[in-house]
Subunit: 252 residues, 2 copies
Amino acid sequence: MRILLTNDDGIHALGLCALYEALREEHEVHVVAPEAERSAVGHAITLADPLRARPIKRNGRPFGWAVSGTPADCVKLAVHELLPGPPDLVLSGINLGANVGINVLYSGTVSAATEAAILGLRAAAFSLDTYQDPDFCFAARFAADLVHWITVLPGPGAFALNVNIPALPPNRIRGLRLTRQGTARFVERFDRRTDPRGNVYYWQAGETLAETEPEDVDSRALRDGYISITPLQFELTHHAFLSMMQIPDYTW
Amino acid sequence: MRILLTNDDGIHALGLCALYEALREEHEVHVVAPEAERSAVGHAITLADPLRARPIKRNGRPFGWAVSGTPADCVKLAVHELLPGPPDLVLSGINLGANVGINVLYSGTVSAATEAAILGLRAAAFSLDTYQDPDFCFAARFAADLVHWITVLPGPGAFALNVNIPALPPNRIRGLRLTRQGTARFVERFDRRTDPRGNVYYWQAGETLAETEPEDVDSRALRDGYISITPLQFELTHHAFLSMMQIPDYTW
């Protein structure tokens, strides 16, 4: 299969390389990824600046394209310009850190998969639930093994799956859960500092609020030691609220 | 009321100034907006760089804060650091150009409102359906008039409304429609060029595909000459697909 591989941690990230190695024997893999880290860029695209794509080698062999834009830009540019034909599948990751709950909205990794679905393709985003000493070995093998399941999955022609993998030794992972997006969110805190010239600046910091969530929610599955798989869509309408709203009485 | 006003076209954009002027007599308005245009940034937030907030004057009077980040950053920083207390309402815009269909995902204007809803606030994003010779006069008055309706609206405590206004003379606007997000999307085209040094670069261009959409869809309402109001949420789970999925049979 022809697979487009991208991420938001940048083309040199370990998680992407691990997934590439797990896929390349069996598939025609095309890497098109941001030239540097583009975490938390959400579904940004680049319209006001031109995009550049630079061929990258690894160990003396062609490896992929480093793009000056966002993960969503990478998917668009790959599909329209860089690949020899449409990919059968788009994979994003493996991200350093989980993408669950509200944080999914900020995730470049997930947005790459969503962008692929918008373009009519099947896609999956993979994230490993750790920021420290990541071992992508099992996650990469699991992702590569999931490729067949994704391509034969009964369902819409195009979709995006958000897959989160616990950072546990394989024998301690308890299984897989199909989940919905939860409400766990990044609770920000601004660290106010003054630079040597006397100007104020802020670091956006904080932590993800650990809430008690039902078993069918993404963050809870991870905490329980399960791999979480959430199918995503891209319609944001609040249907329940819409059905009870009344048209404002306005005259002009 | 204490109103936080932001946008994605930048603090000096005409649409923001028009809305500010329409609100400032009746309300305590705090402007916290990107220092420059941040269109199509989606729900990006800034974590890898510090944020700066610079006080801005207009006509010699304090006007607001210009922030070095994205619209979502502006809302977070405003609520946590810059405002004297939590705002009663967050308004975003008035954007130059409609935000309907799939394009809503790319919109910084809409993401500012969604971010406010995530923070537990009521919010609305306003967009004017034109890129040429914008006349924000009616749209700003309409937005200011809608403030009362938004604050007394029965419904969830926090929400985000996506409001799109036709660029028509008021007497040709046919009314208001409550709508859902449609599938109109930006169909990109990459314009491949070579710079004076011989390096290839791409401009991302394209146009929004005009589809035949039902009357209750955002883009159709605009085309029919109606103001479109869509309530948004931020759960991306594809529930219909989830309910028919089977857990992959995987052993390790």
